[in-house]
Amino acid sequence: MNIIVCIKQVPDPEGPPGSYVINPALNRVEARGIPPVLSLFDENALEAALRIKDTLTHDEVKITVMSMGTRISGAVLQKALAAGADELVKIEDGALESATLDSHATASALASAIRKKGKYDLIFTGRQAADWNAGQVGIGIARFLGIPAVTLAGKVTIKDGHAVVERVTPRGYEVVRTPLPSLIAVSNEVGALRYPTMMQRREAKHKPVTSWSTADIGLYGNPETRLVVKGFFVREMRQGRCEIIEGDTAATAGLNLAQRLMHDGVISP
């Protein structure tokens, strides 16, 4: 079984607020002083693929990680190989600056790369990327490849040549079955990406890494985009005038807080 996991590299979404700077000249947002990381839901997607590999012991499962962008950090993507992916395909090109690509262009380029890769039974993406949170690329890839897409996956197993997916719903989950090949967009309910051992970290350095340019995947010129960024701005976030309620001990502070909230009518006594 061949599984492709699409992983985006993003500036650490948990970086301090000053880390994201608007560059008006280039009309984009740049990260300052924070490292790139694997986008969180893409890590969940890789974990979903690894769990399939854990269970399908009678079948050889090969997991290919695909990452597209301008400056893909090998060190960051090593994490995916160390966790258990078998190979990495980087699609790296100046024309693939994620700040200027919309979901349509991204999905179309990734679909071209996947077609070039050839055989696949399952494609995983995260439910949304942690920088722009558009949440459309998975469905777009499936559309371009002409395969079914299942979103908001909380658990994925393989049964009788189908993927069986638990999808998150407002009041619980539903179990759906989709034929192979299919695309599955994964949510955090799948669970966090496993930690590699020292041995796996070492082995990861020897796993195959392939680099493709846009020409390699049959794209020429700048990909067509349908969304235009008209501008960026910053909005003040909620401002509290936090009054710290003190007390001799933490317990007394808790008690004082309760009395204060009742006194101020925040909580009715």
Partner: protein, 338 residues
């Protein structure tokens, strides 16, 4: 822009009422229609939804389209997409708005790709200027907002809950109700639903609660949440959580608050053991009063809180809960002012 109406996909609650986020969309779509000089319409999908269509027609809109079919009883990606595209062919809306919900997260991109147009998800507003209609969306963990122009028709956006005052029923114009003939069968569908597992509707409890007691990673365990449940129970509120307690299985994912969870704006939000990440704040910034309990005085949550206690919640919360309980019983426990 084409002649068609700005159209809202109205989602129904289990009782076949209108979802609050859909009422917000109706309000926002009304403003957009006003700015662009187009009509305003709503589309309702489901099975046996006649009454719901009547309910929607109480709002100040021009047309209500109903897509009523037994196979639309529950959401299924391929069937809903097919039905919506049939509606599109008939009504040709100039723009489509949906609430940013678990349904639209799946449906809206399908429609956008099928129609070859583009979509801005999880928007908090719009602006209409010389260049046209732009949707505003928080990006980079909500630190920055982007204003995005859609090339292509129809324009599509999903709207984050609590972005707009919900529309109220007010019949100003004559509302036309159009029943769209829907032809559906399962033959083309690849995805098959095997089972639906329905739990308690904790998300809805959280939405409607006036007081939310939320716990974060700092709570440390499922047992720790019992303290918060007791407090919420006593206050007649609901329990919420940041993402880690949901991911770690201490509480149900249905009670997650934040960018990828529920969005709440209660009178009081008590955040316990929550650091205050931007993704969490996105879900509770609309609360009237925020109370934070955290052992780290530098935690970001204090920057947006109105009242705070720095300390271990295991000591703070029992005393806090006890003081309210005593007071309600008529007791007079005294704290010391410092």
């Amino acid at each position: 822009m084409s002649e068609g109406a700005v159209t809202v996909l109205v989602e129904l609650t289990e009782e076949k009422g209108i979802e609050p986020v859909s009422r917000e969309c109706l309000a926002m779509a009304g403003k957009i229609a006003g700015a662009c000089g187009t009509k305003l319409a709503a589309v309702v999908m489901g099975n046996a939804i006649g009454d719901a269509a009547g309910e929607v027609s109480r709002y100040d809109i021009d047309t209500v389209y109903t897509l009523d079919h037994p196979l639309l009883e529950c959401y299924e990606s391929e069937l809903y997409e097919a039905a919506f595209l049939q509606f599109y062919t008939i009504a040709r809306p100039c723009g489509i708005l949906m609430g940013h919900t678990l349904l639209s997260i799946d449906l809206a991109p399908r429609i956008a790709f099928a129609l070859g147009t583009s979509l801005v998800t999880d928007c908090t507003g719009f602006e209409y200027g010389a260049e046209g209609l732009c949707f505003i969306k928080p990006v980079y963990s909500g630190n920055i907002y982007a204003s995005l122009l859609i090339r292509g028709e129809p324009f599509m956006a999903t709207i984050r809950l609590k972005s707009e005052e919900p529309a109220l029923p007010s019949q100003k114009r004559h509302v036309e109700i159009v029943r769209v003939p829907v032809e559906l069968d399962r033959t083309g569908a690849a995805i098959e639903v095997l089972e639906r597992v329905v739990g308690e509707n904790r998300g809805a409890d959280l939405q409607s609660a006036d007081i939310v007691v939320a716990g974060g990673r700092g709570i440390g365990s499922a047992e720790g949440f019992e303290l918060l449940k007791n407090l919420a129970g006593m206050l007649g509120g609901a329990v919420g959580a940041s993402r880690p307690p949901c991911d770690l299985g201490w509480v149900s994912p249905a009670i997650q608050v934040g960018q990828t969870g529920g969005i709440v704006s209660p009178s009081v939000y008590i955040a316990v053991g929550i650091s205050g990440s931007m993704q969490h704040i996105a879900g509770m910034a609309g609360a009237k009063t925020v109370v934070a309990v955290n052992k780290d005085p530098a935690a970001t949550i204090f920057k947006i809180a109105d009242y705070g206690v720095v300390g271990d919640f295991r000591e703070v919360m029992p005393a806090f809960t006890g003081a309210i309980r005593d007071r309600r019983k008529g007791g007079t426990t005294q704290g010391n002012r410092t």
